[in-house]
Symmetry: C2
Subunit: 508 residues, 2 copies
Amino acid sequence: MARSPKNKGVSPSRQEDFPAWFQAVVREGEVAELAHVRGCMVIRPWGYAIWELMQAELDRQIKKSGASNAYFPLFIPLSYFEEEAEHVEGFAKEMAVVTHHRLEEDPADPGKLKPGGELTEPLIVRPTSETIIGKSFAKWINSYRDLPLMVNQWANVVRWEMRPRVLLRTTEFLWQEGHTAFASEEEARDNTTEMLEVYRRFADEFLAMPVLTGEKPEEERFPGAVMTLSIEAMMQDGKALQAGTSHYLGQSFAEAAEINFLNREGERELVHTASWGVSTRLLGALIMSHSDDVGLRLPPTVAPRQVVIVPIPRGDDGAAVLEAAETLAREIGELSFQGAEVRAMADLRDREPPDKRWEWTRKGVPLVLELGPRDLKEGVVALRRRDAGDAKPESLERSRVATAIPELLAEIQGSYHRAAVERLASRTREDIADLDGFREWFDTDPSDADAGGFVRAPWSEAPESAELLEDLKVTVRCLPFDQDLAPGATCVLTGKPAVTEAIFAKAY
Amino acid sequence: MARSPKNKGVSPSRQEDFPAWFQAVVREGEVAELAHVRGCMVIRPWGYAIWELMQAELDRQIKKSGASNAYFPLFIPLSYFEEEAEHVEGFAKEMAVVTHHRLEEDPADPGKLKPGGELTEPLIVRPTSETIIGKSFAKWINSYRDLPLMVNQWANVVRWEMRPRVLLRTTEFLWQEGHTAFASEEEARDNTTEMLEVYRRFADEFLAMPVLTGEKPEEERFPGAVMTLSIEAMMQDGKALQAGTSHYLGQSFAEAAEINFLNREGERELVHTASWGVSTRLLGALIMSHSDDVGLRLPPTVAPRQVVIVPIPRGDDGAAVLEAAETLAREIGELSFQGAEVRAMADLRDREPPDKRWEWTRKGVPLVLELGPRDLKEGVVALRRRDAGDAKPESLERSRVATAIPELLAEIQGSYHRAAVERLASRTREDIADLDGFREWFDTDPSDADAGGFVRAPWSEAPESAELLEDLKVTVRCLPFDQDLAPGATCVLTGKPAVTEAIFAKAY
């Protein structure tokens, strides 16, 4: 019997059209959808459950760093934005503005409503909270004894998007934003670096997504920042995705918000601040890192269900099969993977078994177990590994389930990580020495997922390189921390003397 | 030595001015503050940590009920509100309206910004999400196989407040809103009742706050609902606080959003929907239930720190005392209370020990242990129970710590609960039979925390009772589930034949 199109996985394939494939995986995997308001998204239960697993782990790490969670207002008075000039310039173009606080019946059009109660000062829906949190810090910080002050907020933020893309570029998204204040520059810079390392490790170990770390070039800094660090991941089409940033803000935000403290010598000083964040973009990065032409593939760490059992109740043994599936799910749920109970369930819904199997496959569940009357008799289950492509199911003896499941989950986590590490290594060119080679590497068909990748090369930072890069739609992703610039090296773009090594890539 | 005013606890006392006392407890306990934007609040780290503990427990209960978390857009198109007429009428007056999506330099006033990019359709910042979630449900629900559908969202919502009060009545607040759809009225009503019971148990067992449960009278229903249930708590001033609601919405929202499904007979039917929520108001309720004239008192279940050790390092033994405090904190942190590790810390900050002790006392920590050189020598710690008022510290032998701490925490949880139960019982009058007695009970000085309370009495639901109640600033809180109306009973307000028992109270 031919599989129905619904069961074949997603369409198009990565090779056919990578961006359209991404959208199909997100849709068919029931992760999220753009809906209701242009550029806004609904994060569906399956997608939100992945986000919750990410949040729980990251929240643990953030608290370990010494920060406490708090919550600050959604609305920021317009005047706050006028105070930090550089910051405004960077954000001013893309914010939602609240101008009224009431809806009224429209007398001109009965049954219709119109805005009423105009505000004397418009309110901005936060695009980020440096300005408002700074004002609170100014109130809370009095002496050196109040430092360091480290808070983090899990919140929604809004930046108006003209060309929205689900999960990657949305008008509203969810994120965490950490905001910290210190007595000295050194401590603030250390916090900036430490949090980037938290993000790196989280991406690498939890999301099975290796990343490069480095400093952003000046033009790419957060508006108002002295230094912006980022983690950069490589998607399956060779493009870069900035997956987290950490900023040392110097004293400019402290000056604008008047955050000062009495030092040990009894003198007033400005604090040094930092901020750092990751967002629901990580869901997009996760998907473009690991998924395949069938649909989502989730590392077990972030799979809301790590094991799903699909019973195939045929004939007289139907009830026994259902019961065995439940028992098996309970048994597996008591096993442990990475220090937590395995997330297992038996899918007892009123649907056809193949439909169930395909649903969980498209949703990226690492292990799907099928159990029919014959398996029951033979004391086995049919095991499908999500990392095994179209391979036939393996037969797993019931007696081996307890030892096999945690091992299999670890193997799958490892196999996704290995593939991503290999991709990052094999598609990062370090041997391109001049503009011709650079052009050739990046001058690719944008729908060809197999062409291009990163270039690591010496860079002069010369102004004319900006134009060259723009033509090629390539950006400097970061100046990697592990600099290894050869003496006398010349810029890959201009041939001038290089001052740094840089990572170049097309990017999301 | 006289205590400095800072160390005396909060001012005024509950007796002097209950509402001002509440604000002082919230401020001095570093729970929250109104700041930045009229009616908006900052939830400070200590307050947010309490909220996180509430969230974790409630989230567990919500998931157990079968609902999954998801996230829906912050912005709701104005047109969505025009579709459910009754719903609009209830909410139309108090919403934040986004009309522009850009800030621009103001050419008339250099350095200043003004709204630009007017939207063709204004967007409403969600006051609640029935309309928008309904539209998604309509897309996701096709057949009876897709039912029930149960989602929950933890989110911020905005309802413009003209007379804001921190935690109780704020323009922006945090909440969870559950939205569920069912094939039958019976299931939807069951879900409505089940979730109210989740809230009741949560308030009673987790917050040590007993509540009454019942149905709201018709005028107090959620706009558009068929039935609204609530839990009602009694604050220390005898006033009621609605601490959670659960609504059966019938089919009107389903009709407006066109949420229908193919039933087993192959016919299209409208679903029945329900919604339920609790908010950061619960933080206010918690405080007004348990706190005293010194400051916050937190039931151990919701105390971010259940035990704080304040070292008193004097003379040569200073280092040994600090070390012993850390060791003790670690030891206590390995103990278990209610199935989780005890949240203990040693306060090693560079401050005076009495200041530390008063800070933790004002912040409601259930147990503060003090440890000085002499305690160290004698193998004891000085123990202060937050439920013991101004009593002198007890001396606790180090060898007894492991068994004593969990017991003490259980005792404190019990003592707060007992006091609240006794208050609810002793200040609920069931013996008031006529309007004179009713008037006398409620005609009190609003700043007198000891006067008034609830009245449980027969009610006629007659229209003229509304006016009487308004004069006295009393409301019908609910029609309690455990009805016990005597045959021939007459209305406490009008003397007419009663149709129900009701709970009457002044309320927040």
